[in-house]
Symmetry: C2
Subunit: 333 residues, 2 copies
Amino acid sequence: MRIIIDAFGGDFAPIEPLKGAAQAVKELGVEILAVGDIPKMEECCKKNNIDTTGIAFKQADEVFDIHEDPTKIVKEKTNTSLHIAFRALADGEGDAMVSAGSTGAILAGATLIVRRIKGCKRPAIGAVVPGLHPDGFMLIDSGANNEVRPEMLKQFAVMGSVYMEKVMGRINPRVGLLNNGTEETKGPETHRNAYSLMKEDEEINFIGNIEGRDVLMDKCDVLVADGFSGNIGMKSVEGTASFMNKMLKHMFKTNLKTKIAALLLKKQLMEFKAKLDYTEYGGAPVMGVTKGVIKAHGSSNAKAFKNAIRQAKLYAEKDVSSLIASQLAKVEE
Amino acid sequence: MRIIIDAFGGDFAPIEPLKGAAQAVKELGVEILAVGDIPKMEECCKKNNIDTTGIAFKQADEVFDIHEDPTKIVKEKTNTSLHIAFRALADGEGDAMVSAGSTGAILAGATLIVRRIKGCKRPAIGAVVPGLHPDGFMLIDSGANNEVRPEMLKQFAVMGSVYMEKVMGRINPRVGLLNNGTEETKGPETHRNAYSLMKEDEEINFIGNIEGRDVLMDKCDVLVADGFSGNIGMKSVEGTASFMNKMLKHMFKTNLKTKIAALLLKKQLMEFKAKLDYTEYGGAPVMGVTKGVIKAHGSSNAKAFKNAIRQAKLYAEKDVSSLIASQLAKVEE
């Protein structure tokens, strides 16, 4: 099993991707193809004592700028580490890939270089979000498609279910629809129609609408959303958690009593912080394309990269793309 | 100043609305017109030692069911406490009103019984949400309109700005647009066009897009949103805060050491909990109608009701509806 990584994607490239890659080689038994400027990668590994056993390098002179028009990844920015990683995946030089680069560019490259699964109307980003369930849930779409049609939401349900069942081992995954109320009549027309489509389909274990306030409460394994409100919901969760963590940190520094309390709670506070920590969960797979493409969080550290590589490995091992293709065909019949 | 309350709206009616009303009479110097079944209200006050000084009662035989079709509030359910409260407001029996009943019915009644402000394209619900700023910010629309046009989003900005300036005392309120990225080019077409409209208008202190992860970070005083993603964002914040509070509570019960820590932190933990507590903030005004209508949270306790009554009083005192009317006219010129 060989995983391709875009070693120059993300806020802490290339050091954290390369460290994560080295950990993945040791712990997961994978080989890595690291794409980027080879002299820089070699220097970084040497300087930081990163063991390069099991890591091969592939040259790319440029880095795809996060502020660049994402569609340029396909035909213009062909010399970037992200484009060359996509090309290597499409050409079979690896089984799946990981990048912490621009979400839009990863989506565009996955769709147009790696290519869509036959029958998939629109690829989506399926983020695995931490919550009450120890392994979290999949939010799909978490930001790829601002505007959706009901049939697309239904396909998100199918793709998310395959992933949660095959990669995350969740039996008969419960599917919910992110909406502004629990009743069937809630939400815009698109959501009301998607509700009916999912309810009627026996291949989908649809449990109804989920409100924003219940997203973390383990009510479903797959949370279907349009990419716009899905993105806003997910980032609101993230923002609130980070806000509260900051307030807590501040609280423990108030005086001697609170500092003693912090010492007494040391172990529990670490567990608490880990609970909503994205680094434990790896990245977000692009769902609906022919090979495994995992988008890692922009601020991923080595551990987050390693976990994203684990996801990529599982995606390829379980042949998720083929399973999605056959499941989509089944639902369309 | 006389505030009308729907004494039979909300999860804890009539006791909490009546307790809140009695507190408001004492602390805010208002008179109250409490609408509902008079014998039941009188019995409730007697049984719970609620002082009825300053509270007048108005009979309504029925209660508007929260699961009922909201539009029925206008012509069919005319015998409910909510309808009669609206009618009393429209007829000038009070200066503003408060209800913790069905959001949809409150919106419908405010729009069609109390009536829209001339020039207002669509009334919206402006929730005051707690965050880093000690007085929170206004999220408008927080759930009234699933589908919006750019001009409507612009009007939400104008109405929210008037409220935050006049009622909350925020000078030259900063307006942000809830979107899936900070760049001008982000979001669906509606949001991109609304961005341009707000940026161009000198009456609006527009500071750009706000992502979900920044909603609590005091980046703006008025957060403009379509009602669908606004609702999802707001409830996601609420859900995450409640999830984390539960986890914390659980953490402090782990063992003797954590229980001692809880004792040491008693004062700080109360402040922490209060920080994201909706009861401190009262309710959500329906913006764009000719009189003050405040929607209190469904699970409001007496304190939340009292604070919603305070909001209603300020709304009427500052004549927010007239100010909105003239500001909307100014922007339309």
